[in-house]
Assembly symmetry: C2
Homo-oligomer: 143 residues x 2
DNA sequence: CGATATAATGAAAATGAATTTCAAAAGCAT
DNA sequence: ATGCTTTTGAAATTCATTTTCATTATATCG
Protein backbone atom coordinates (compact mmCIF):
# COMPACT_ATOMS: atom_id res chain seq x y z
CA UNK A 1 0.00 0.00 0.00
CA UNK A 2 3.05 2.19 0.17
CA UNK A 3 3.60 1.43 -3.47
CA UNK A 4 0.00 2.33 -4.12
CA UNK A 5 0.48 5.72 -2.50
CA UNK A 6 3.60 6.35 -4.48
CA UNK A 7 1.67 5.58 -7.59
CA UNK A 8 -1.09 7.93 -6.49
CA UNK A 9 1.44 10.69 -6.14
CA UNK A 10 3.18 9.92 -9.39
CA UNK A 11 -0.12 9.96 -11.22
CA UNK A 12 -1.02 13.23 -9.58
CA UNK A 13 2.36 14.70 -10.46
CA UNK A 14 2.04 13.52 -14.04
CA UNK A 15 -1.44 14.97 -14.39
CA UNK A 16 -0.19 18.28 -13.05
CA UNK A 17 2.92 18.29 -15.16
CA UNK A 18 5.14 18.27 -12.08
CA UNK A 19 8.69 17.10 -12.43
CA UNK A 20 9.91 14.17 -10.43
CA UNK A 21 12.62 15.11 -8.02
CA UNK A 22 14.84 13.36 -5.53
CA UNK A 23 13.48 15.59 -2.74
CA UNK A 24 9.87 14.69 -3.30
CA UNK A 25 10.72 10.99 -3.43
CA UNK A 26 12.61 11.21 -0.16
CA UNK A 27 9.95 13.23 1.60
CA UNK A 28 7.25 10.86 0.44
CA UNK A 29 9.21 7.84 1.63
CA UNK A 30 9.73 9.35 5.03
CA UNK A 31 6.18 10.59 5.33
CA UNK A 32 4.89 7.12 4.49
CA UNK A 33 7.18 5.61 7.09
CA UNK A 34 5.66 7.72 9.86
CA UNK A 35 2.48 7.15 11.75
CA UNK A 36 0.25 9.36 13.81
CA UNK A 37 -0.22 13.04 13.19
CA UNK A 38 3.12 14.51 12.38
CA UNK A 39 3.87 18.19 12.37
CA UNK A 40 5.72 19.78 9.48
CA UNK A 41 8.63 20.57 11.74
CA UNK A 42 8.81 17.00 13.02
CA UNK A 43 8.83 15.66 9.50
CA UNK A 44 11.39 18.24 8.45
CA UNK A 45 13.73 17.11 11.22
CA UNK A 46 13.31 13.46 10.24
CA UNK A 47 14.02 14.32 6.63
CA UNK A 48 17.01 16.42 7.51
CA UNK A 49 18.59 13.72 9.65
CA UNK A 50 19.11 11.51 6.59
CA UNK A 51 19.18 14.30 4.01
CA UNK A 52 20.67 17.42 5.48
CA UNK A 53 20.43 19.28 2.23
CA UNK A 54 16.65 19.37 2.02
CA UNK A 55 15.19 22.67 3.07
CA UNK A 56 12.31 23.78 5.16
CA UNK A 57 10.42 25.30 2.28
CA UNK A 58 10.56 22.13 0.25
CA UNK A 59 9.01 20.11 3.04
CA UNK A 60 6.20 22.63 3.41
CA UNK A 61 5.64 22.75 -0.31
CA UNK A 62 5.75 19.00 -0.72
CA UNK A 63 3.31 18.25 2.07
CA UNK A 64 0.82 20.58 0.43
CA UNK A 65 1.22 18.57 -2.73
CA UNK A 66 0.57 15.35 -0.84
CA UNK A 67 -2.62 16.80 0.54
CA UNK A 68 -3.63 17.96 -2.91
CA UNK A 69 -2.86 14.52 -4.30
CA UNK A 70 -5.17 13.05 -1.71
CA UNK A 71 -2.67 11.02 0.23
CA UNK A 72 -2.30 13.28 3.22
CA UNK A 73 -4.74 15.26 5.28
CA UNK A 74 -3.91 18.54 6.96
CA UNK A 75 -4.91 18.70 10.60
CA UNK A 76 -5.11 21.89 12.60
CA UNK A 77 -5.37 21.38 16.30
CA UNK A 78 -4.99 24.17 18.77
CA UNK A 79 -1.24 24.24 19.11
CA UNK A 80 -0.28 26.48 16.24
CA UNK A 81 1.34 23.68 14.26
CA UNK A 82 -0.02 22.20 11.08
CA UNK A 83 0.00 18.44 11.17
CA UNK A 84 -0.47 15.84 8.47
CA UNK A 85 -1.85 12.34 8.64
CA UNK A 86 -2.16 9.58 6.07
CA UNK A 87 -5.32 9.33 4.08
CA UNK A 88 -6.50 5.77 3.67
CA UNK A 89 -8.59 5.40 0.57
CA UNK A 90 -12.24 4.90 1.32
CA UNK A 91 -11.76 5.55 5.00
CA UNK A 92 -12.50 8.53 7.13
CA UNK A 93 -12.13 9.13 10.81
CA UNK A 94 -12.36 11.94 13.32
CA UNK A 95 -10.50 12.67 16.52
CA UNK A 96 -10.76 12.67 20.26
CA UNK A 97 -7.99 15.04 21.34
CA UNK A 98 -6.71 14.82 24.90
CA UNK A 99 -5.77 18.22 26.21
CA UNK A 100 -3.90 16.55 29.06
CA UNK A 101 -1.34 14.48 27.21
CA UNK A 102 -1.95 15.57 23.60
CA UNK A 103 -2.77 12.05 22.56
CA UNK A 104 -5.30 11.50 19.82
CA UNK A 105 -7.87 8.74 19.61
CA UNK A 106 -9.35 8.12 16.20
CA UNK A 107 -12.92 7.07 15.64
CA UNK A 108 -15.40 6.65 12.86
CA UNK A 109 -19.13 6.89 13.10
CA UNK A 110 -21.21 6.06 10.08
CA UNK A 111 -24.33 7.53 11.61
CA UNK A 112 -22.74 10.90 12.26
CA UNK A 113 -21.41 11.03 8.72
CA UNK A 114 -24.87 10.30 7.41
CA UNK A 115 -26.44 12.98 9.58
CA UNK A 116 -23.88 15.45 8.31
CA UNK A 117 -24.90 14.70 4.75
CA UNK A 118 -28.53 15.21 5.64
CA UNK A 119 -27.83 18.52 7.30
CA UNK A 120 -25.84 19.70 4.32
CA UNK A 121 -28.54 18.59 1.91
CA UNK A 122 -31.15 20.43 3.94
CA UNK A 123 -29.16 23.64 3.39
CA UNK A 124 -28.38 23.00 -0.26
CA UNK A 125 -24.75 22.74 0.77
CA UNK A 126 -22.25 20.61 -1.16
CA UNK A 127 -19.81 18.93 1.22
CA UNK A 128 -16.20 18.85 0.27
CA UNK A 129 -14.71 17.78 3.59
CA UNK A 130 -15.33 18.02 7.26
CA UNK A 131 -13.53 17.93 10.53
CA UNK A 132 -14.77 16.96 13.89
CA UNK A 133 -12.67 17.09 16.98
CA UNK A 134 -13.73 16.31 20.49
CA UNK A 135 -11.53 17.88 23.13
CA UNK A 136 -11.22 16.69 26.67
CA UNK A 137 -9.34 14.23 28.84
CA UNK A 138 -8.46 10.68 27.91
CA UNK A 139 -8.99 7.83 30.34
CA UNK A 140 -5.41 8.12 31.61
CA UNK A 141 -5.55 11.84 32.20
CA UNK A 142 -8.94 11.88 33.89
CA UNK A 143 -7.66 11.33 37.34
CA UNK B 1 -29.60 39.48 27.27
CA UNK B 2 -26.82 41.95 26.70
CA UNK B 3 -27.18 42.94 30.32
CA UNK B 4 -27.08 39.30 31.25
CA UNK B 5 -23.78 38.86 29.46
CA UNK B 6 -22.33 41.91 31.09
CA UNK B 7 -23.31 40.46 34.41
CA UNK B 8 -21.72 37.16 33.45
CA UNK B 9 -18.50 38.96 32.75
CA UNK B 10 -18.64 41.08 35.86
CA UNK B 11 -19.23 38.03 37.99
CA UNK B 12 -16.34 36.29 36.29
CA UNK B 13 -14.11 39.30 36.80
CA UNK B 14 -15.09 39.56 40.43
CA UNK B 15 -14.44 35.88 41.04
CA UNK B 16 -11.02 36.22 39.46
CA UNK B 17 -10.20 39.44 41.25
CA UNK B 18 -9.91 41.32 37.96
CA UNK B 19 -10.23 45.07 38.00
CA UNK B 20 -12.92 46.76 36.03
CA UNK B 21 -11.53 48.96 33.33
CA UNK B 22 -12.90 51.32 30.74
CA UNK B 23 -11.22 49.27 27.99
CA UNK B 24 -12.86 46.01 28.94
CA UNK B 25 -16.26 47.69 29.14
CA UNK B 26 -15.85 49.20 25.70
CA UNK B 27 -14.59 46.02 24.12
CA UNK B 28 -17.42 44.03 25.66
CA UNK B 29 -20.01 46.54 24.43
CA UNK B 30 -18.65 46.42 20.93
CA UNK B 31 -18.27 42.66 20.91
CA UNK B 32 -21.88 42.28 22.04
CA UNK B 33 -23.00 44.64 19.30
CA UNK B 34 -21.49 42.46 16.62
CA UNK B 35 -22.90 39.37 15.05
CA UNK B 36 -21.37 36.56 13.10
CA UNK B 37 -17.87 35.29 13.60
CA UNK B 38 -15.63 38.25 14.02
CA UNK B 39 -11.87 38.13 13.78
CA UNK B 40 -9.72 39.79 16.39
CA UNK B 41 -8.45 42.24 13.84
CA UNK B 42 -11.96 43.15 12.73
CA UNK B 43 -13.02 43.75 16.29
CA UNK B 44 -9.86 45.74 16.96
CA UNK B 45 -10.64 48.02 14.03
CA UNK B 46 -14.20 48.52 15.22
CA UNK B 47 -12.96 49.31 18.70
CA UNK B 48 -10.32 51.66 17.44
CA UNK B 49 -12.74 53.63 15.30
CA UNK B 50 -14.56 54.89 18.37
CA UNK B 51 -11.67 54.56 20.80
CA UNK B 52 -8.39 55.16 19.05
CA UNK B 53 -6.42 54.77 22.23
CA UNK B 54 -7.15 51.11 22.76
CA UNK B 55 -4.34 48.83 21.71
CA UNK B 56 -4.04 45.59 19.86
CA UNK B 57 -2.80 43.65 22.82
CA UNK B 58 -5.71 44.69 24.98
CA UNK B 59 -8.21 43.41 22.44
CA UNK B 60 -6.42 40.08 22.24
CA UNK B 61 -6.19 39.82 26.00
CA UNK B 62 -9.77 40.82 26.56
CA UNK B 63 -11.24 38.39 24.07
CA UNK B 64 -9.44 35.59 25.82
CA UNK B 65 -11.07 36.69 29.02
CA UNK B 66 -14.47 36.64 27.36
CA UNK B 67 -13.88 33.10 26.21
CA UNK B 68 -12.73 32.13 29.67
CA UNK B 69 -15.81 33.77 31.15
CA UNK B 70 -17.95 31.67 28.86
CA UNK B 71 -19.50 34.40 26.79
CA UNK B 72 -17.41 33.99 23.68
CA UNK B 73 -16.15 31.02 21.78
CA UNK B 74 -12.90 30.94 19.86
CA UNK B 75 -13.25 29.66 16.31
CA UNK B 76 -10.35 28.57 14.15
CA UNK B 77 -11.21 28.16 10.52
CA UNK B 78 -8.62 27.69 7.83
CA UNK B 79 -7.71 31.29 7.20
CA UNK B 80 -5.13 31.84 9.87
CA UNK B 81 -7.27 34.27 11.85
CA UNK B 82 -8.79 33.55 15.22
CA UNK B 83 -12.45 34.45 15.32
CA UNK B 84 -14.88 34.78 18.17
CA UNK B 85 -18.59 34.22 18.30
CA UNK B 86 -21.16 34.75 21.02
CA UNK B 87 -21.98 31.90 23.31
CA UNK B 88 -25.67 31.59 24.02
CA UNK B 89 -26.25 29.89 27.32
CA UNK B 90 -27.57 26.36 26.95
CA UNK B 91 -27.10 26.38 23.22
CA UNK B 92 -24.53 24.84 20.98
CA UNK B 93 -24.14 24.80 17.25
CA UNK B 94 -21.68 23.77 14.61
CA UNK B 95 -20.79 25.20 11.22
CA UNK B 96 -21.16 24.71 7.52
CA UNK B 97 -18.33 26.78 6.07
CA UNK B 98 -18.55 27.83 2.44
CA UNK B 99 -15.13 27.88 0.84
CA UNK B 100 -16.56 29.86 -2.04
CA UNK B 101 -17.87 32.96 -0.30
CA UNK B 102 -16.64 32.37 3.27
CA UNK B 103 -20.17 32.45 4.60
CA UNK B 104 -21.05 30.30 7.56
CA UNK B 105 -24.28 28.46 8.17
CA UNK B 106 -24.94 27.38 11.72
CA UNK B 107 -26.71 24.19 12.66
CA UNK B 108 -27.46 22.06 15.66
CA UNK B 109 -28.09 18.38 15.75
CA UNK B 110 -29.10 16.75 18.97
CA UNK B 111 -28.49 13.27 17.62
CA UNK B 112 -24.92 14.02 16.63
CA UNK B 113 -24.21 15.48 20.02
CA UNK B 114 -25.59 12.38 21.66
CA UNK B 115 -23.51 10.12 19.45
CA UNK B 116 -20.43 12.11 20.34
CA UNK B 117 -21.08 11.52 24.02
CA UNK B 118 -21.47 7.82 23.39
CA UNK B 119 -18.25 7.62 21.45
CA UNK B 120 -16.40 9.49 24.17
CA UNK B 121 -17.88 7.27 26.85
CA UNK B 122 -16.85 4.18 24.93
CA UNK B 123 -13.24 5.40 25.12
CA UNK B 124 -13.39 6.55 28.70
CA UNK B 125 -12.91 10.06 27.41
CA UNK B 126 -14.24 13.10 29.28
CA UNK B 127 -15.54 15.70 26.82
CA UNK B 128 -14.74 19.30 27.47
CA UNK B 129 -15.72 20.78 24.12
CA UNK B 130 -15.92 19.88 20.51
CA UNK B 131 -15.86 21.44 17.12
CA UNK B 132 -17.39 20.24 13.92
CA UNK B 133 -17.03 22.05 10.68
CA UNK B 134 -18.31 20.97 7.32
CA UNK B 135 -16.50 22.56 4.41
CA UNK B 136 -17.90 22.90 0.93
CA UNK B 137 -20.03 25.15 -1.22
CA UNK B 138 -23.19 26.88 -0.15
CA UNK B 139 -26.27 26.85 -2.35
CA UNK B 140 -25.29 30.17 -3.93
CA UNK B 141 -21.75 29.13 -4.74
CA UNK B 142 -22.60 25.71 -6.13
CA UNK B 143 -23.08 26.79 -9.63
C1' DC C 1 23.56 13.19 -27.13
C1' DG C 2 23.95 18.80 -26.11
C1' DA C 3 21.27 22.92 -25.85
C1' DT C 4 17.41 25.24 -24.16
C1' DA C 5 13.42 26.10 -21.64
C1' DT C 6 11.17 25.76 -17.47
C1' DA C 7 10.33 23.90 -12.91
C1' DA C 8 12.15 23.00 -8.35
C1' DT C 9 15.13 23.90 -4.68
C1' DG C 10 17.06 26.13 -0.52
C1' DA C 11 18.99 29.94 2.09
C1' DA C 12 17.60 33.92 3.59
C1' DA C 13 14.33 37.45 3.99
C1' DA C 14 9.64 38.62 4.63
C1' DT C 15 5.14 38.11 6.44
C1' DG C 16 1.61 38.17 9.73
C1' DA C 17 -0.88 36.67 13.73
C1' DA C 18 -0.27 36.46 18.38
C1' DT C 19 2.43 37.18 22.61
C1' DT C 20 5.63 39.45 25.57
C1' DT C 21 7.99 43.30 27.57
C1' DC C 22 8.12 47.12 30.38
C1' DA C 23 7.35 51.82 31.71
C1' DA C 24 3.45 54.56 32.51
C1' DA C 25 -1.35 54.85 33.89
C1' DA C 26 -5.34 53.30 36.33
C1' DG C 27 -7.98 50.84 39.88
C1' DC C 28 -8.67 49.62 44.58
C1' DA C 29 -8.18 48.92 49.54
C1' DT C 30 -6.89 51.35 53.50
C1' DA D 1 -4.59 60.85 49.48
C1' DT D 2 -1.15 56.71 49.89
C1' DG D 3 0.70 52.77 48.45
C1' DC D 4 0.32 48.48 46.18
C1' DT D 5 -1.08 45.85 42.30
C1' DT D 6 -3.17 45.28 37.94
C1' DT D 7 -3.81 46.87 33.41
C1' DT D 8 -2.59 49.14 29.43
C1' DG D 9 -0.36 50.20 24.92
C1' DA D 10 3.61 50.88 21.95
C1' DA D 11 7.08 48.48 20.47
C1' DA D 12 9.73 44.49 20.26
C1' DT D 13 9.59 39.61 19.87
C1' DT D 14 8.25 35.10 18.62
C1' DC D 15 7.23 31.54 15.68
C1' DA D 16 5.04 29.14 11.87
C1' DT D 17 4.60 29.68 7.28
C1' DT D 18 5.37 31.92 2.79
C1' DT D 19 7.95 34.39 -0.52
C1' DT D 20 11.96 35.73 -3.03
C1' DC D 21 15.42 34.85 -6.10
C1' DA D 22 19.75 33.03 -7.59
C1' DT D 23 21.16 28.44 -8.48
C1' DT D 24 20.40 23.73 -9.76
C1' DA D 25 17.87 19.94 -11.75
C1' DT D 26 14.64 17.97 -14.96
C1' DA D 27 12.42 17.32 -19.25
C1' DT D 28 12.05 18.28 -24.08
C1' DC D 29 13.64 19.14 -28.60
C1' DG D 30 16.76 19.54 -32.45
MN1 LIG E 1 -6.19 10.76 12.56
MN1 LIG F 1 -21.36 30.08 14.88
ZN1 LIG G 1 -4.49 12.21 27.92
ZN1 LIG H 1 -20.82 30.39 -0.58
Amino acid sequence: MILEKKKTFNDFAASKGLRSTRQRDIILDIFLSTHEHISVEELYLKVKSSNPGIGHATVYRTLKLFAEAGLAREILLHDGQTRYEHVVKGEHHDHLVCTGCNSIIEFEDETIEKLQSEIAARHGFLINSHKMEIYGLCANCRR
